[in-house]
């Protein structure tokens, strides 16, 4: 699931967990009874048929229990609307607590690190991500291969470009780390 600042007006805890629920149910061979029943109920109602957050959470936890193992990935937590964030995090806590076969993979900018640490109180592992020389070279080589003006570079320049850029970037990073420590 991707949180997106540009979608902040439409993203809520319900839409994020609803999307996860959809993917979990989609992965199951059979629709869980509880989900089917909720669907039938909604069909009978005249006014709207959206699930409310407590129901989404309950159905998600039930559906997850049908999977041998599952990984929920939520990208860019810091782009999720601030006003709903606590609510989302409380739901994630419930999932972690009630679904022992589920793992949660989160990404975000450094400022949310302490919040996540505090919220999951010792149950969250923290991994700092920094530019990686090998990744940068892979990416630059791909871009060079797709260069629309291929003849603009000779072999030497083509070989030097990834090396020099990735060296510079990792140097910048080491420097900024030195400043932080």
């Amino acid at each position: 699931m991707y949180c997106d600042f540009s979608a902040r007006n439409v993203q809520s805890t319900g839409t994020v967990l609803g999307s996860v629920l959809r993917q979990v149910v989609g992965a199951l061979a059979e629709i869980p009874d509880e989900v089917q029943k909720a669907f039938e109920r909604a069909k009978r109602q005249v006014d709207g048929c959206g699930l409310r957050l407590p129901e989404i959470l309950e159905l998600l936890i039930k559906s997850l229990s049908n999977l041998k193992r599952s990984f929920i990935c939520i990208d860019a937590l810091d782009e999720f609307p601030l006003k709903h964030r606590l609510e989302l995090w409380e739901c994630l806590q419930c999932i972690v607590r009630d679904c022992p076969k589920t793992r949660l993979f989160l990404t975000g900018r450094p400022h949310i690190r302490d919040q996540v640490q505090e919220l999951f109180d010792g149950t969250a592992e923290m991994l700092p991500i920094s530019p990686n020389t090998h990744d940068i070279e892979l990416y630059l080589n791909m871009r060079l291969k797709r260069d629309p003006e291929f003849d603009a570079m000779d072999e030497g320049l083509r070989a030097d470009t990834p090396r020099v850029i990735s060296d510079k970037i990792s140097g910048v990073y080491v420097l900024s780390q030195d400043f932080e420590s």
């Binding site: 991707y2 609803g18 990404t107 149950t123 592992e125 991994l127 700092p128 991500i129 990744d135 791909m142």
Partner: protein, 107 residues
């Protein structure tokens, strides 16, 4: 209501009532999901995250971020056995370092 229409033996499109062809970028998924289940899935959530996922997947270079998979932190986290393992993993870093582009495919 959705129905699956076979136009040729190898190509399958899903057609809505209005006649719009949807989901044409992933026909395999549509073929394998029966109508009834599709209705339930549509009701649960629209497909927005799938579109974003395709965009990320297409822009991704194979092998990028694989170093993460060999870290001890990741290995300990993704193995489900053992109650002592921490169930949550946060990868944090500045914008543009590649957090969105990690990929893990379980064997």
């Amino acid at each position: 209501m959705h129905s699956v229409v076979h136009q040729s033996p190898s190509v399958t499109y899903s057609i809505t009532d209005s006649g719009n062809v949807i989901g044409s970028y992933n026909t395999e998924l549509i073929i394998s999901v029966p109508d009834e289940k599709r209705q339930v899935l549509e009701w649960l959530s629209p497909l927005a995250s799938r579109e974003r996922h395709h965009a990320v997947r297409d822009a991704r270079v194979d092998g990028v971020g694989d170093w993460l998979l060999s870290t001890e932190t990741f290995s300990a986290w993704h193995i489900l056995e053992g109650q002592t393992t921490k169930p949550v993993l946060l990868c944090y870093g500045d914008p543009g370092v590649g957090k969105t582009y990690f990929r893990y495919e379980p064997l």
